[in-house]
Amino acid sequence: MTDGMHRRPIVGSGTVVRARALSLGIHLLLCGTSLVMLYPLLWMLASSCKPENEIFSSMSIWPSRLDFDAYVRGWSGLKIGFGRFFWNSLVISVLCVIGNVLSCSLAAYAFARLRFKGKNFWFALMLGTLMLPYHVTLIPQYILFLSLDWVDTILPLVVPKYMATDAFFIFLMVQFFRGIPRELDEAAMMDGCSPWRIYRKVILPLSLPVLATAAIFTFIFTWDDFFAPLIYLNDIGSYTVQLGLRAFVDSSGKSDWGALFAMSVLVLVPVVAFFLFFQRLLIEGVATTGLKR
């Protein structure tokens, strides 16, 4: 997906001027759309560092002067500081990334490379779970975790990721592993390597792009997740950033929009950072696999 691959427009009998005008028109349209799409985000960013009285008096994205007081107010706006929420979210997200990459790659390796009885049957069932909306398992899972005394801990959010419950990522990895030349594992097998060693020393090192895609999307999905923390975390001390924001809306947020915007901006920062650093990987992930975000 490089720039060089673009098709040039078909230009009929030398109507260069018309083609130029068309191209200019398209650029204007795209720039306009970009502006409309980004304006809300820029406005939020600007509002978070405007003096409080300016937020709703002005539509501008240029603050008259920079004022970071909203960040200070927001950071300790609830009875527990946002630092705690960030820490909680970070711990949960990192643990989920590790679990997902590990358990999904193990399963994917078995499906892509090993021969065993009932492989097609289990593979079909695995794909079948892709179709199942999580609402069906939601209530029994909640009852299960409740009876294990896991509610109000991070376990219900993290443990499922160590059980390869994101079938989509298994599928993604199976597709990638299948593309690795089989001669490599066969050569390793000749040398007496066990499947476990082949998985670790051959397959994983050659699969960094797909592992990275899975890791980044798992991080973003977990970081953004609101529903699971909402039902499993009740104590404010164990809140994630998304729950923290919600609590903030319900309490002081109605009066102090500057502080609420400031915290919202901070919550978006990790996702934007991933976007900036791994843009190509993310966009290719969507283009080639149809990931829905």
């Binding site: 406005w43 779970t129 990931l291």
Partner: protein
């Protein structure tokens, strides 16, 4: 131990985490939820078998269910076509070999990536409030906008706009699809004097139908499952006057606000049936409009 069964054991070891999840977190709970949907269960007393009573009540005697169904269908019917139409239009514009494509693509994709965050729902609530940015812009052209969020006639539209705003990921998929269409098809068509309009309807659209189909299914299922924005914008109530009571929000309330677990399980199964119905209809009708290369 024979060699084959030793191989099997080894493979099953790799699959052990997946098996654990498949049985304990997927299959088991699925069966349990089917059972629960025929009971009355409040988490305190043991589930009490009540036959199909939950389903009967859903079908005949639940105004909130009807309201949530209306809201959800309305949302799906508006948000999905608008989002896909927008995604396709922008993808077509980007596919004209314009300069700066990576930058545009990145800008349009960013909202897709951020949109699920509570932070964006918070922003939306403020953009569309009575004195919000949207009304200030409308005032510039002399329109006095309503108080979008707190007016039951308009609140759902703010969520439709939020969904359309996230057109980036279907757009990227469309763009990838457009690139698959061989260039010489257009050259041949334009040599034969086919207008741009005709080329779009006779070449681009038919060749793109598999991608349109894929995007439509994914986005429709996703729209049925929407939760967070409606929850934040309505402060968890689905209000004003049930105008943003998405199906999932209603299900959440039944389960985790009123602890009617049996009833909520039945609601979940009805959702599955609805989604399965739409998917099945799409696949059946696909035969008539989706064009596959043979």
């Amino acid at each position: 131990m024979s060699r084959a069964s030793a191989n099997d054991t080894r493979a099953y070891l790799f699959l052990l985490p997946w098996f654990a999840g498949f049985f304990c977190l997927t299959t088991g709970p699925t069966l349990a939820s089917l059972f629960l949907s025929f009971t009355s269960f409040d988490l305190i007393q043991a589930p009490r078998w009540i036959g199909a009573a939950n389903y009967v009540r859903i079908a005949t005697n639940d105004v909130s269910f009807i309201a949530s169904l209306k809201v959800t269908f309305f949302f799906v019917a508006f948000a999905v076509p608008l989002k896909l139409g927008f995604a396709l239009a922008v993808a077509m514009a980007l596919n004209k070999g314009i300069r700066g494509l990576p930058l545009y693509r990145a800008i349009f994709y960013l909202p897709s990536l951020l949109g699920a965050s509570v932070a964006i729902a918070v922003l939306w609530r403020k953009l569309f409030s009575g004195d919000g940015l949207v009304n200030k812009v409308l005032a510039l052209v002399g329109i006095h906008g309503p108080s979008w969020i707190s007016d039951p006639d308009y609140s759902i539209y703010t969520l439709v706009v939020l969904s359309v705003w996230q057109f980036g990921s279907p757009m990227i998929i469309f763009l990838a699809g457009l690139r698959q269409i061989p260039h010489d098809v257009y050259e041949a068509a334009s040599l034969e004097g086919a207008s741009k309009r005709r080329q779009f309807f006779k070449i681009t659209l038919p060749l793109l139908t598999p991608v349109i189909f894929f995007n439509a299914i994914v986005q429709t299922i996703d729209a049925f499952k929407a939760f967070t924005p409606a929850f934040i914008i309505s402060e968890g109530t689905g209000g004003p006057v049930r105008s943003t009571l998405f199906y999932t929000l209603y299900l959440y309330q039944e389960a985790f606000a009123y602890f009617r677990m049996g009833y909520a399980a039945a609601l979940a199964w009805v959702l599955v049936l609805i989604i399965a119905f739409f998917t099945a209809v799409s696949f059946i009708t696909a035969r008539y409009w989706v064009h596959y290369d043979d």
